[in-house]
Amino acid sequence: MRPRVRAVRWEAVSEPFTHRLLPYDGVESFVAGAVPFLRAGVAAGDRVMAVTDMARETLLREALGEDARRVEFVDAETWYAHPARTLAECLAEADAAASRGRRLRLLGEPVWTARPPLEVLEWQRAEALANIAFADTGAALMCPYAVRTLPPGIVAAARHTHPETARGARATRNPGFVDPAAYCRRVDSAPLPDPPPDAVVLDLDRPDLYWLRMCVGDYARGCALPEDRLQRLLVAVTEVVTNAVRHGAPPIVLRMWTDADGPGPPALVCEVVDHGEWAPDAGFGHVPPRPGGDGRFGLWAVRLLCSLVQIRTGGGATTVRLWFRHRAGPPRVKGFMQSAHRLDSAAYAERVRDDLDRQVTS
């Protein structure tokens, strides 16, 4: 049996870009949806990728037979490492394929277990954003969801983020699909919990930020943040504060704390609050900028640099909360910021002077 006929029919019912949910309750329904999808790509000369685990790879290879040789299998744990980065990398693959006149066809089953709730939220958001990001790439995406073993909330969210549902080789419109922008607004409407009372507070009273980086760097060194992550933290914080200085309204305040057992990963959290509100079309940096743009990446790059980002704007203030996952274990050094509570640039300068005096006299 050649898959050619099926492939033609498949193309005939679809828009150029597709993003399909494949709900499955066992091997049979998984194979029945995934195999025609992959075969159609092989037949059409697509770049065909299957992101999944070892067990499903074995199943698919067996079912695909000869065609499996033209499918690239990728380990899901590695692929689904970070929502914003995975989205960016996948988009780069789609663009690269499109530039060679090919289509990217990707079967991808996200990893849902052992993720803290805030990370789950971001992976669900990535599913919604894929509809915007890939719209003009012509990519074909299919996302299998194990409906019997996954928590019901995850399956329900998938019905909001996929415009179509696959059953076997057929696709139908998904009535539960929500406009991606509206979906993101909904995710971002839940109020953020207050920072803990022992958070370090920096009053940002001047536009020159080198002293801020000194404080943040010192605090981070005391928080078991890996040294090679420090630059990412400083770049992200600088970007968010620079935005607040340029487009927000004073007073601008930065708070830092560590969160070990909240809804996010164990992390160093930096929050920047200013007293302006973002325009409705400001964009939260969700969608990767297209190559050949003006080279401004702003918030999108901040999302790549952080473990996760939360933004709330409205009610006369804007809050951007940046999470940096840290490893377990004791802090490496105790810096001068560890004993600080509230500082502005003048108080910081005084502290640095004291610190120097102590080093000189001891």
Partner: protein, 300 residues
């Protein structure tokens, strides 16, 4: 830098040389020499408190730094013997036309003594030694002993500072390294910008800028201005980032926008990227930074 090991030397911008400094400049291009020696000479002649002794066969008005003076000032500096241009023969050679290091040291010592009598506050001495490395009676060994004599005369001095210039291509690198080792100070161009957080220094081989410290929004304009000047008319402008500690996202955008504004095919080469800065660039993706290319890797 120049690919040579610079372990125990003091690097100093020419504007910060002090009396007692016996400094070394292996220049790559005339432009570099004009920058460094020009500032050295001009700093001495701008006011009337310092004496400049330049050993060269060129007429004074064609020497680096002297060119920046107007005619009236130049005539004044020559008249009061504040600027002394001594010919090579008169300073370095014996009657037979062979290189004579002790004569050279005597002549220079005489000029320094005279400066003291004239109540000059300091004496700046410089010459380009390149020709001596192949002159009769010259060569590496004689030059080394000559440099030791100069070092003995200059280093304990409270008034004299000297720059020995050599064209980098004049001799093989190992010979230049041996000569360089007789100096305590490596002199370089004055920074184009330095506010204590960000320092920008012109480099000449390859041509570009060395960017040290932290580049953020408060310093974008200063950097952009220096970058525009140095990259004008160049296909490849090199940025030595070995001492860059931080660059913000706006700084990366600025680089790529600048590269795209250059004539077709021009690029900015990022040399010796610190790994933590490269990590941020990789995160954003090189393909989103057109016009930027990875250059020489960082030395281990």
């Amino acid at each position: 830098m120049n690919g040579l090991d610079v372990g125990w030397f003091t690097e100093r911008p020419v504007g910060e040389l002090r009396p007692g400094d016996h400094a070394w400049l292996a220049y790559a291009t005339r432009e570099e020499r004009e920058h460094v020696i020009g500032d050295f000479v001009h700093d001495g002649l701008r006011n009337t408190e310092e004496k400049v002794v330049y050993v060269a066969d060129s007429p004074p008005e064609r020497l680096p730094g002297v060119r920046r003076l107007d005619d009236v000032t130049l005539r004044d500096r020559v008249r009061r013997r504040q600027l002394r241009v001594l010919s090579r023969a008169q300073t370095c050679l014996d009657r037979a036309g062979r290189f004579d290091p002790s004569r050279m040291v005597d002549v220079l010592a005489h000029e320094v003594d005279a400066a003291f009598d004239q109540e000059f506050r300091a004496v700046r001495v410089t010459t380009d030694f390149s020709w001596l490395l192949t002159a009769p009676g010259g060569g590496l060994t004689r030059m080394l002993s000559c440099e030791h004599l100069v070092a003995e005369a200059v280093s304990p001095s409270t008034t004299t500072m000297a720059i020995c210039q050599v064209r980098r291509g004049a001799r093989p690198p190992d010979e230049l390294a041996a000569l360089r080792d007789t100096h305590e100070v490596l002199v370089e161009a004055n920074p184009e910008f330095d506010d204590g957080v960000l320092k920008i220094v012109r480099t000449f081989d390859p041509p570009g800028l060395r960017v040290e410290g932290e580049l953020d929004a408060a310093r974008h304009a200063a950097f952009s201005d220096r970058l525009a000047r140095v990259s004008k008319g160049r296909l490849r402008t090199h940025l030595d980032l070995s001492r860059l500690r931080f660059v913000d996202l706006g700084g990366l955008s600025l680089l790529t926008r600048h590269a795209c504004d250059l004539p077709g095919g021009s690029v900015l080469v990022l040399d010796e990227l610190p790994p933590e800065v490269e990590d941020v660039i990789e995160m954003v993706g090189w393909h989103r930074l057109p016009g930027l290319v990875r250059g020489r890797p960082r030395e281990a």
